[in-house]
């Protein structure tokens, strides 16, 4: 609760709204004891006095009544009616909602049908009908405004109640023999009250506006009694000659409603967990680059060379070092595997290359990624966009989430082509069909008109591959493209990728957590742990004799077909959280070969004969072979 108020106070606008509202409410409360003129005493010889006159600070109205006094009394009345309507609507609506939600079944059905019917009206029609039946008057207007808001509360509260009514503690109360009404009062109600209060705080501004509106129409408060709405309504006939009589009550309504809205927004934001975590911030077109040091120069190996790449996530005051200095390279026609558990930084490494890490919170803080000698990190957005999909393209994990759900797959393919070269409709379509055929989608001429949800997972991923191929790129970065697929489909997709690599001379960076896939496809493999490469080398070498204990343990997790006797050993513990990495080896905590010197100093990746390993006490070859 305190945390909530702290958050609320931190939002300066909400605080401002709260203060203004508190002042208005306070003034309205003490109006009777303020030295004000009587709001209803008419003095026609003194009518339409302008503002800032002696004796009448805000002037007088068409009957010579003191406007300051009237606006204060009017505010008092408007606030009272607005709050009363909100409380009435909330109470009745909540009662209906709780009954519908708690009893469920037919009761629920009948009540909610009725609520839906009420919601089918534009709200004012209902309010007008009620006022028409009951006759104009402030109390009747209050009833009308409360009544039209009941369905809103009923529906919200019902939703919450349904959720609570199925919880264990309610079942327990029922088993304990408590009556329905007691369960509702002692178990359900305390849990829905916060929701009721929030719903009220967001609607009360509306209710004040609505009652003011009805009074403005002459259907609410009747003379001489006046709320802000009827003051405006009465002043309307003198709008052109004496505008101040309209402006004074109008501004007052604006102040009240605006301060309530500011406060309400603040309350909503303070309660929304997504805002706190930054989950609602918009990722920019390219990842933010903020390199403290000049990046290392290219050493000229490979078509794509990643040097000392560092990518971090800045969330609030925390810094997560997702990638902590990664060196990679891939040759033309080569397939490099990057393997690791989830959270090891393999995807972030891959996405950093083309600036696709969501930013905020992602920031590339160091290193370089050379494509044919050109550094892509920090390249201007235009250049980056130009190369995305044309030189380096991506295949992502879950093709249902990564394809646009509302565009036909053909259109998405054509768009990929047209992003880089202008081509006509017919030509684009022909090319799209050709691409679908290249990834062996049967009946491509027809499937091109499918929406993603109409395809199977394997077919969708083929579309994903076809899209990556659309502009004949040199490098494809495949981020766990087979993880979401079942095993037979996985094999088909891998075969397609392997063929394409051979026929087109593609370089593939293949990210996975599956050693089986690596063995099938990759020439070389890099093992990542906690944002760093811990071992790299030719696939066959590493599979034969892993040198880093982590690699060895990772391989031990893979079940072998027909090798029945071997025990599958999960790695105990979890990878370290990358905002506070331990000194020394990040794997030390989980390593069964750990020794005191593993926990101090930086441990370098030692390279020798095309193998690299980041370990003080690597597994020696003989040991590993056993």
């Amino acid at each position: 609760m305190t945390a909530f108020f702290v958050l609320l106070a931190r939002n300066r606008l909400a605080l401002l709204g709260g203060i203004v509202l508190a002042c208005v409410v306070f003034l309205a409360l003490i109006t009777p004891i303020l030295p004000l003129a009587d709001p209803d005493v008419t003095n026609t010889s003194n009518r339409f006095q302008p503002v800032f006159l002696d004796g009448a600070l805000l002037g007088t109205d068409h009957l010579g009544r003191d406007l300051l006094s009237r606006v204060m009394w009017g505010t008092r009345l408007s606030l009272a009616v607005g709050f009363a309507a909100a409380i009435a609507a909330a109470t009745i609506g909540a009662a209906i909602g709780i009954i519908a939600g708690y009893y469920g079944g037919r009761t629920d059905n009948i009540i909610m049908r009725g609520v839906d019917m009420l919601m089918a009206f534009p709200y004012i029609l209902l309010a007008l009908a009620i006022v028409a039946a009951l006759g104009p008057g402030l109390f009747n207007a209050l009833i009308a405004v409360a009544a039209v808001n009941v369905p809103f509360f009923a529906r919200n509260i019902r939703g919450i109640t349904v959720g609570i009514a199925n919880k264990e503690f309610v079942d327990a109360a029922r088993l304990a023999g408590m009556s329905n009404s007691r369960i509702i009062l002692s178990e359900i109600l305390p849990n829905v009250i916060p929701v009721i209060v929030i719903a009220m705080s967001t609607t009360i501004g509306w209710m004040i506006l609505e009652t003011a509106g009805l009074s403005f129409l002459g259907l609410g408060s009747q003379p001489p009694q006046a709320d802000l709405g009827s003051m405006l309504g009465e002043a309307r006939s003198a709008l052109i000659t004496n505008p101040h009589t309209s402006i004074v009550p109008g501004i007052m309504i604006l102040i009240i409603v605006m301060s309530i809205n500011l406060l309400g927004d603040g309350v909503r934001d303070a309660l929304d967990p997504r805002l706190k975590s930054g989950a609602l911030s918009r990722p920019m077109a390219a990842t933010r680059v903020d390199r403290a040091e000049t990046p290392p120069a290219a050493s000229g190996v490979g078509l794509l060379e990643v040097k000392a790449l560092e990518t971090q996530f800045h969330v609030k005051n925390r810094i997560y070092r997702a990638v902590g200095g990664v060196d990679l390279h891939v040759e033309k026609g080569e397939c490099l595997g990057i393997i690791g558990e989830s959270g090891s930084g393999k995807s972030v490494t891959a996405l950093s290359i083309m600036g696709l890490v969501a930013s905020p919170p992602g920031v590339i803080t160091g290193g370089a990624a050379y494509y044919d000698g050109e550094d892509l990190i920090g390249a201007p957005y235009r250049r980056l966009r130009d190369m995305r999909g044309r030189n380096v393209s991506y295949i992502f994990q879950d093709p249902l989430a990564t394809l646009h759900p509302l565009y036909r797959v053909g259109d998405q393919l054509i768009e990929a082509i047209r992003a880089h070269r202008p081509i006509g409709k017919a030509e684009g379509r022909a090319k799209a069909i050709e691409l679908l055929k290249a990834v062996r989608i049967p009946n491509a001429e027809k499937r091109i008109n499918d929406y993603p949800h109409e395809m199977s997972g394997g077919m969708r991923q083929r579309v994903g591959i076809a899209m990556a191929l659309a502009n004949d790129p040199d490098i494809i970065i495949a981020d766990e493209p087979t993880t979401a697929l079942d095993v037979t489909v996985q094999a088909q997709v891998l075969t397609i990728l392997d063929e394409l690599r051979r026929s087109r001379g593609l370089a593939i960076v293949f990210i996975t957590h599956d050693f089986g896939v690596v063995a099938q496809l990759c020439d070389r493999v890099a093992v990542m742990y906690a944002g760093r490469i811990v071992e790299e080398g030719a696939t066959t070498d590493i599979l034969d004799a892993p040198r880093h204990p982590y690699t060895a343990r990772l391989m031990a997790c893979v079940p072998e077909l027909g090798g029945g006797k071997r025990r599958l050993e999960a790695i105990p513990g979890l990878p370290p959280v990358v905002d506070k990495l331990p000194e020394g080896c990040a794997f030390a905590e989980r390593c069964d070969r750990v020794q005191p010197d593993c926990r101090s100093g930086g441990i370098a990746l030692v390279r020798k004969d095309g193998r690299g390993v980041r370990c003080v006490h690597p597994v020696d070859t003989r040991e590993a072979a056993e």
Partner: protein, 315 residues
């Protein structure tokens, strides 16, 4: 598609039925003798007796309801005694004017609201976002009738850009240009609140969508950021924006009552307020049922638009 439209139309029948029940029940709350209340100043004994016969007022409520309903279904909404004119004729004529006003305002608020929301989201926390957020807050806090009055004062009286009120001039030709000059202020004043609400919602819908994986895919393809925002993200965001447009249409229709009073627009809202003040009950009853029914049908159109946009909705 036709099947889907038919299905939605059929599902509207119970709602329309419910609307008439609700209106009937509210009107049954009128204290005193209904015929005398309906007739008001015209309550001569002959008139009272005739009305009692026509509406079956002596009979049980259920029977009364079905008499009223069948009359309405055959196009007889009763006669307004204050205007001495069939209710339906008056409602239809007035509804046209409301449609022009509310329709224009709805188009305005839909376009401006969505565009403002997209710009706001695309520049989150930037100057444009902050400016739009502030204007939106002001827009949803100002009572439309007060805004309308201030617009009259400023644009009509001081600057003389637009006529003060009305739909047509008393003398002169009824051309489109004349209509537009009369329409400009009321339609804008009416659109302001809804524009604010739509802009807010569009902004959050866009922010939600911009984090989705398919946006990253579009960027990875090399689609220009403009295309990412205005095509990929907006199209997906429209799925949650369109239902809100439907709800806001109801608010525009509601707000039209105030605006019609402020700008002397000869619409159905002003007619209803006049009818209430004159206790012209049949007029209120007929007007409310008619407008609510139109709103229900409009919402079906919204659902159909939604199903055209989103192929995942089973049609």
């Amino acid at each position: 598609m036709t099947g889907y439209i038919l299905k939605r139309l059929l599902s509207a029948i119970p709602v329309l039925f419910g609307i008439t029940v609700i209106v009937f029940l509210i009107m049954a709350m009128i204290p005193g003798d209904p015929a005398t209340a309906i007739l008001g100043n015209f309550a001569t004994p002959e008139n009272v007796e005739k009305l009692n016969r026509d509406l079956g007022l002596g009979k049980p409520l259920v029977q009364q309801y079905f008499i009223w309903l069948s009359n309405m279904l055959s196009g007889d909404f009763g006669t307004s005694f204050a205007l001495n004119r069939p209710v339906l004729d008056e409602v239809l004529e007035r509804f046209n004017a409301t449609l022009v006003l509310a329709g224009t305002a709805f188009v305005l608020c839909s376009f401006l609201g969505v565009i403002a929301g997209v710009i706001s989201a695309a520049n989150q926390y930037g100057a444009a976002d902050k400016g739009i957020t502030f204007v939106v807050l002001l827009g949803i806090s100002i009572p439309s009738f007060f805004l309308g009055m201030m617009m009259i004062l400023f644009f009509a009286v001081n600057l003389r850009w637009f006529p003060v009120s009305g739909m047509w001039p008393i003398y002169g030709d009824r051309t489109l240009g004349v209509l537009l000059s009369h329409l400009a202020m009321p339609a804008t004043a009416l659109a302001v609140v809804a524009t604010g609400v739509i802009a807010r919602l569009s902004r959050s819908a866009m922010l939600e969508v911009l984090r989705q994986d398919f946006i990253r895919t579009a960027r990875a393809k090399g689609v220009h950021e403009r295309g990412v925002i205005w095509r990929h993200a907006l199209k997906a965001a429209m799925v949650s924006i369109i239902p809100v447009l439907g709800i806001q249409a109801g608010f525009v229709l509601s707000g039209a009552v105030y605006i019609e009073i402020v700008f002397q627009w000869p619409g159905v809202g002003r007619m209803l307020v006049d009818a209430i003040l004159k206790r012209d009950i049949l007029m209120v009853q007929g007007g409310v049922v008619f407008v609510a029914a139109c709103y229900v049908l409009f919402n079906i159109a919204v659902d159909v638009a939604q199903s055209l946009l989103d192929p995942r909705i089973k049609t």
